[in-house]
């Protein structure tokens, strides 16, 4: 193919450098800027698609140039199925979101900034997944964090958005520090950042060191992927425009952690602690995220907590895989792709609703079915796909995750995952009931609601099609990734998958009873029987409260230190020193300097006095001088004669 020599570089350099020229393009005109941005997204997709043929069936290609020879740092790309898969997902979702934003963001201010950050976001995420060394990965990792900050705080006039941006930035920074520590520890042991060296030589590192490195890098990944315990930033990031949320959830930000875990799985799967911890974090997060999604009344909160939960599924699957060739690794990546489709679609659908209604409160919605039929259908697709109803992609991926977890035999993990799956259906169903079904709320009666614009529907429809058909491509997808295990399509219809579907009914029934039938009074239930549970969920398991207390503790400590040390000691110290210096100076002046002055005056006056007396000798006449000289000479001569 003609693009082959260039596309590995252009696929990430093009969006990165095109982002710089967005302001220039918007000087030409908003129409030109839109065409420019979409064109860049399209070319990025073409380039990334052209990479597929290079890596089919598990080949891997590494291209590099030396960057810093003395430190063994190189700049390069690693093309293998994993990186190409992620690059394609990012560029595809990126293009869809860019097209969607043309319509969704059309009437906003500061679109130059928006498109600049979007292109930079896409470019740096592709750079992150396609880098061939950890240093390059970290640079793009930070760039992704920067872009997420810029985009979450896009509506910079809203204080919540600014606060959310700062929260996102700070919380992910905690993970970044851990990741950097891990990378530097690796470098200290291997003197190289590249994956090749890491994969070939990780056996040289002592096991305790490798364990520490793996835990640090796992921490970095789970913070980026919004897993417990630092998951709360993802809900705050909902202050961003919905298209940004779609990109952030579907492809870029949170998938960075998934990518890093999948990439380093080969190295760290030799450590049982890492595997166990990964599986447990994933499973617990899946459950916690799902329960949080059940409670929220924010329409964007549902997909936000859903993402936390679904990524928990993926990470649990990674933890269940004993090696990169095992089923769990494949299942996690498979679920990652289907999640990219259905969660992207979910955000696009919700974006249409918010675009029409201008509110995010689900309690003020209801009965949108008749007004927005296309969005309703899309939402149903999202819900079915997310819950894992058979023909949709998520059914296959979740089935694989379930079977991989069952193969580990850890009962509590299995229970957590199954209950998380049940709650997934429950919160999706609740979302549907609250938003589209039922009667129109008083808020909605006030104005007429239209269907979303055509462009938004088209871009959402593309993702919907992906949701529907992707599940049937599991076998080619597996070949593409080069995973080798005996794969039986009937695995999808085994006990695990069907039990999985069965669990959905368990989750669906209470929702049906409470929200659609209203045979159980939800408020009564909450206040009487589930008081503790409700309290916990309403406050998000008190994670933010704890972090707030910790931060407050630091603030109190610093103010205590300030009042005790800064004001009482450090600010007084200069005065004390200066005061004593003044005293010393005065003492010296009185005792030494005055004495010295007197002495000098004495000597000077004595000299002057004697000078006046001696002056008479000095006649100024030349003969006198000569006489003196002659006498001196004579004296010397006599002395000379006497001494010899």
């Amino acid at each position: 193919m003609i693009l082959e020599p260039y596309s590995p570089w252009l696929v990430w350099l093009l969006p990165l450098f095109s982002s710089i020229f967005v302001p220039l393009a918007s000087k030409v005109g908003s129409k030109f800027r839109d065409i420019y941005v979409v064109g860049v997204g399209m070319f990025t997709l073409i380039f990334s698609a052209s990479l597929i043929s290079m890596v089919y069936s598990g080949r891997s290609v590494s291209l590099k140039v030396i960057w810093v020879p003395r430190l063994n740092i190189e700049l390069g790309v690693l093309l293998d199925p994993l990186s190409v898969l992620f690059a394609n997902i990012v560029s595809f979702i990126g293009l869809v979101v860019l097209v969607y934003s043309l319509s969704y963001m059309a009437h906003e201010e500061g679109l130059t900034r928006y498109y600049f950050f979007m292109l930079l976001f896409i470019g740096s995420m592709i750079g992150l997944v396609i880098a061939n060394n950890l240093l390059q990965l970290f640079i793009f990792w930070e760039l992704v964090g920067l872009c997420s900050y810029g985009l979450v705080s896009f509506w910079h006039k809203r204080p919540e958005a600014v606060k959310a941006g700062i929260k996102v930035f700070l919380m992910t920074k905690i993970g970044d520090v851990a990741l950097l520590m891990g990378i530097l520890l690796l470098y200290a042991n291997l003197y190289s950042f590249s994956y090749e060296q890491l994969f070939n030589r990780y056996g040289e590192i002592a096991v305790p060191t490798l364990t520490v490195i793996s835990l640090l890098m796992l921490f970095g990944s789970i913070v980026k992927s919004a897993q417990l315990p630092l998951h709360t930033w993802l809900y705050s990031a909902m202050e961003a425009p919905t298209s940004v949320s779609c990109l952030l959830h579907g492809a870029t930000m949170v998938k960075g952690g998934v990518y890093l875990i999948a990439r380093t799985h080969m190295v760290f799967s030799s450590i049982p602690l890492w595997l166990d911890l990964t599986a447990w974090i994933g499973a617990v997060t899946a459950f916690v995220g799902a329960t949080l999604a059940l409670q929220t009344s924010d329409i964007k909160g549902v997909p936000a907590y859903s993402t936390i939960s679904q990524i928990g599924f993926m990470i649990a699957a990674f933890g269940a895989a004993s090696s990169p060739k095992a089923l769990g690794w494949f299942a996690g990546l498979f679920h990652m792709v289907s999640h990219a489709f259905f969660q992207g679609l979910g955000f696009l659908a919700i974006g249409s609703i918010i675009h029409q209604l201008g509110t995010r409160d689900m309690k003020r919605m209801g009965g949108l079915r008749s007004n927005m039929p296309i969005t309703f259908i899309l939402s149903i697709i999202v819900i079915l796909s997310r819950s894992g109803i058979p023909p949709f992609s998520s059914f296959f991926s979740k089935g694989l995750i379930a079977s991989s977890l069952v193969s580990t035999g850890n009962l509590s993990l299995i229970l957590l995952i199954y209950s998380a799956a049940a709650i997934t259906f429950a919160y999706s169903y609740r979302f549907l009931v609250l938003t589209f079904l039922g009667e129109k709320s008083s808020y909605l009666r006030r104005f007429k609601v239209h269907e979303a614009p055509l462009l938004m529907c088209i871009s959402a429809g593309v993702l919907a099609a992906g949701c529907i058909i992707f599940g049937f491509f599991s076998v080619p997808f597996m070949r593409f990734l080069g995973v080798e295990f005996k794969f039986d399509p009937s695995l999808f219809f085994g006990f695990e998958s069907l039990g999985f579907v069965g669990s959905l009914i368990v989750g669906g029934i209470p929702i049906y009873l409470t929200y659609q039938r209203r045979s159980i009074r939800i408020e009564e239930l909450k206040s009487k029987y589930l008081l503790f549970m409700n309290d916990m969920l309403r406050n998000g398991y008190y994670f933010d409260w704890i972090y707030g207390r910790v931060a407050n503790g630091f603030f109190n400590l610093s103010s205590l230190l300030r009042s005790s040390i800064e004001i009482k000691v450090l600010e007084r110290l200069p005065y004390v020193v200066a005061d004593n210096a003044m005293r010393l100076a005065r003492f010296t002046l009185l005792n030494f300097d005055v004495t010295l002055t007197r002495l000098t005056h004495l000597i000077a006056e004595a000299t002057a006095y004697h000078g006046l007396k001696i002056r008479r000798i000095h006649s100024g006449a030349l003969p006198h001088f000569v006489l003196a000289a002659a006498l001196g000479f004579l004296l010397l001569f006599i002395l000379l004669i006497l001494t010899t």
Binding site: H618, S619, G620, A621, L622, P623, V626, L627, A629, A630
Partner: protein, 96 residues
């Protein structure tokens, strides 16, 4: 004949001139004689020891002497014009 004693005698003559004469011209002459007596040693010893370096230094000393004389003459002319002095004792008034 002792050349050292010769030059010392010449020096003594110069010193005598400085001591006794009050005329500025005589004073200058005495200084010249003293200088000649001093630089004479260079030539005498260079000639006796067969080393030409002494003559080189003699020429150096002579040129310095001569230039000093020129400067002194100029200074004395200025002093004479401004203060109307031709006597060395009068010059001691410059002290005040």
């Amino acid at each position: 004949m002792e050349y050292i004693i010769l030059s010392m005698t010449l020096l003594a003559i110069g010193v005598y001139g400085l001591l006794t004469k009050r005329n500025l011209l005589k004073t200058l002459m005495s200084i010249e004689i003293i200088a000649a007596a001093a630089s004479m040693n260079f030539v005498v010893f260079s000639s006796l020891l067969g080393d030409r370096m002494g003559q080189v230094f003699f020429i150096l000393a002579l040129s310095v002497d001569t230039s000093i004389t020129a400067v002194v003459v100029a200074l004395l002319l200025v002093a004479n014009r401004e203060l109307k002095v031709s006597d060395i004792w009068d010059l001691s008034k410059l002290k005040e």
